[in-house]
Amino acid sequence: MTTLQEMPPVTDRPPTGTTPRGSRRRGRSFGGGGPLVYLLALAVVALTVGPVLYGALGGFRSNEQLIRDPAGLPDPWVTENYEGVVTNPDFWGYALNSTVIALITTVVAVLAGVMAAYPLARYQFKLREPLFMVFVLGLLFPVAVAIIPLFILITRDLQLGNTWWGVALPQAAFALPTTVVILRPFLMALPRELEEAAFIDGATPIGVFRHIALPLTAPGLVTVGVLAFVGSWNAYLLPLLLLQDDMRTLPLGVADYSTQYSADTAGVLAFTTIAMIPALVLFLAMQGRIVSGLQGAVKG
């Protein structure tokens, strides 16, 4: 029987069935770059970063410049818009909320995820695969499906509406399936001898988990951690329903600001540009790791 469990990216194996495991693969290919290739690459770059650059440069222009010549460069360069954002206490409030919520989400998702993945990888028991299936199926539940009851549950039943935890906990829960699915192969790959040696030295199962499994899974933890962090940082729907006023996160702040000050295009662009930076820096720094995590090629 074919099961959902074997569905990539869920499989324990790299989805690229032909990938040689364990060896770090370098960029090998034949065919260099003719002028046409470079031209195409240039076009791709322009289209990709164009809108981002437009936002960043637009922040350095005045609204009057933007209207006079939508495609021009800043002339003269205006720094007031950025200064306005950086001195705006609302902005820092949003940034703080985003940071705290993303940190709670990450810690909870990674901790609960690695704990759950550990027995699913290292123990033999009857419910192991069914239990793993629960997490795999979790991948298929979009937040949108549960959003209205989630909103009621958090605001009314748990009284966590408009709080950091009220957003972070469900976000962690929705990040868990990915976390478990990515971490399990990492944990499965740990050599058994290390564990055995630790047990002979008198370590408890929890001690082995903490002192052997966790440190050795660190690269995997970083991958799922970044995914959970950026996922939470970028989230919109759940915070939109749960957070008001000064509890709002950056994406909500950006959306609010852009409707509220729609006439101040330059200000909106500056606000948006600064809000892009943290996730951009974090994700780009971790890019290789994220891709290998997504690929399921978990050993490098």
């Binding site: 074997e6 690459a41 970063v49 981002v52 239990l131 298929l140 549960a146 199962p205 996730a279 951009l280």
Partner: protein
């Protein structure tokens, strides 16, 4: 119990299913498993499973969000959702995005991946740049694009005017016939980088020997790409298509920011429909029914995809 005894119990992976294992250590093992798995299961149960079940329950009641939920209406909410033209359009919009993604983003992503796999200068930088839009929050990317697409003052119209294309009066997002396509273009901008990166990673897995052998047999560059590299990318492509499909079905953020579902519901999706029914109109029962339909559509497509497409991968691996 000695610690070595515990070791045997705790690492049955090392000594699988010991038939002589005394019951007490097995219970101990069960306790450990429970201890490790409980936090995750509790979170999932509270914030994923329970809300999904209550969406199902909610879908059978007429409920405005206050007072007890006691006005059982059977399948009437489903009837209303499924006969609502706005919802029907929403499903159609979601399916259009799913179809367009495969039809447009797949070939485009493959082309770029194959090109970026060539030995060109600055390849690493190029790959990073292609990935930038994927990293941005949909909302933030949406706000920038909203500015770019502003009727009359936006950069997109400015550029089109200089190449003598007349933009529509209401702008690209304000014209019902164009809005969904415009949203799709922005989504492609946002998500093409992920496809390219996944495909590139897949291409890296193609063994050099295969390229060399094909070259020795006299195959040209394009021939090698189409005959050798692409077939080996099969599993990666199918994985990407699955991710893209699930993502397209729950599309919300970008639409909400760019058009809010308008103009005249031209860009409503199942998610925007249920959110506005639930939070703006207080029709919780309708929102519940729409949630269930969204889930059924997503699940059915995932299952169908599994049976029709992904099965090949599982078979190959056996």
């Amino acid at each position: 119990m000695t610690s070595t005894g515990a070791a045997v119990a705790a690492t049955p992976a090392a000594a699988p299913a010991d038939p002589d294992d005394p019951g007490s250590s097995r219970w101990r093992q069960r306790l450990e498993i429970a201890l490790f798995v409980t936090p995750a299961l509790a979170l999932m149960a509270t914030f994923v499973v329970w809300p999904v079940f209550s969406a199902v329950r909610m879908s059978f009641y007429r409920w405005k969000g206050f007072g007890p939920m006691d006005d059982f209406v059977g399948l009437r909410n489903y009837e209303r959702v499924l006969t609502d033209d706005v919802f029907k359009d929403a499903v159609l919009h979601n399916l259009t995005i799913v179809g367009l993604s495969v039809a447009v983003q797949l070939p485009l992503g493959l082309l770029l991946a194959v090109l970026l796999n060539r030995r060109i200068r600055g390849r690493g930088l190029l790959r990073t740049i292609v990935f930038v839009p994927y990293v941005l929050a949909e909302v933030i990317a949406g706000v920038v694009w909203f500015q770019l697409l502003q009727p009359r003052s936006g950069l997109v119209e400015e550029i089109l005017t200089t190449v003598s294309i007349t933009p529509p009066d209401q702008g690209f997002l304000g014209t019902p016939g164009l809005a969904l396509w415009t949203v799709f273009v922005v989504l492609t901008w946002k998500y093409l980088g992920l496809a390219v990166l996944l495909f590139l990673a897949g291409l890296q897995g193609v063994p050099d020997e295969l390229y060399e052998a094909a070259q020795l047999d006299g195959a040209g560059w394009w021939q090698v790409q189409v005959r050798v590299a692409l077939p080996l990318l099969g599993p990666t492509i199918r994985t990407w298509a699955f991710l893209s499909m699930i993502g397209s079905l729950q599309l919300f953020d970008m639409v909400w920011i760019l058009t809010g579902g308008g103009p005249a519901n031209a860009t409503t999706t199942m998610a925007t429909y249920l959110v506005s029914q639930g939070t703006q109109r207080g029709n919780y029962g309708i929102a519940g029914a729409a949630s269930v339909v969204l889930f059924v559509v997503a699940f059915a497509m995932a299952l169908l995809y599994q049976v029709l497409v992904l099965r090949r991968d599982t078979a190959e691996q056996r």
